[in-house]
């Protein structure tokens, strides 16, 4: 990994069209400004990893999916009866 030292207000240019600026520094927190073309998606890393992980969970094989759904319908049906 390339590591560069920057001060507040200084920038890094990546390729022709991506610019990263150190906007502010407060203690151990850094505010970063990013200029990039619209097609470049920018996300907080942990958020992106969360989405990847949950997509992987959601794509796991679901044993007896239709049975589970049918069961839940039946359950909610009987709940309504109890309410009355």
């Amino acid at each position: 990994m390339l590591i560069l030292s920057r001060k507040k207000g200084e920038s890094i240019q990546i390729g022709d069209d991506i610019e990263i600026t150190i906007a502010a520094i407060h203690g151990d927190q850094v505010k970063i400004g990013i200029n990039a073309p619209k097609h470049v998606e920018i996300h907080r890393k942990e958020v992106y990893l969360d989405i990847q992980e949950e997509n992987a969970n959601a794509a796991k094989n679901i044993e007896g999916l239709l049975h589970l759904l049918a069961q839940s319908k039946k359950d909610s049906g009987s709940e309504k009866k109890n309410d009355g």
């Binding site: 619209k38 097609h39 989405i51 990847q52 949950e54 997509n55 794509a59 999916l65 589970l68």
Partner: protein, 149 residues
Amino acid sequence: MMKLQTKYHGEVEIEDAAIWHFEGGIPGFPDEKSFVLLPLLDDGIYMVLQSTASPYVAFVVTSPFLFFRDYEFNIDDATLEQLSIEKEEDVRVYAILTVRDPFSETTANLQAPLIMNEKNHKAKQLILNDRHYHTRHPLFADGPDKEKG
């Protein structure tokens, strides 16, 4: 028409026009760019987003607005442009579900809704920068199975 092997529906026949194009894939599945929506039951509440390339890649999805009445977000300009969205009415929104056993513990990913343009069938999974929403909202949070505090 083309024949398709699916995860939950066996072999089905689909028309090319039914295909949704996820140009950039979806997070975790960057190579899956082509999906179809198949209904699960006849009530139309739950659908399966099935990859046309990989039979084992399929997601159970639903309309988040049916379960989360206050759910709202803005679609950013980059996405509007990417999917060539012109009108709100053309946009379909689904949430991916992580189905659990029992089904009452199923969760919905409200942080990354599927945005689909009916006009051109371009679609993507949008990642929201909104801290109100995360990847595991209990689908039946207000229901009888609510956890006791």
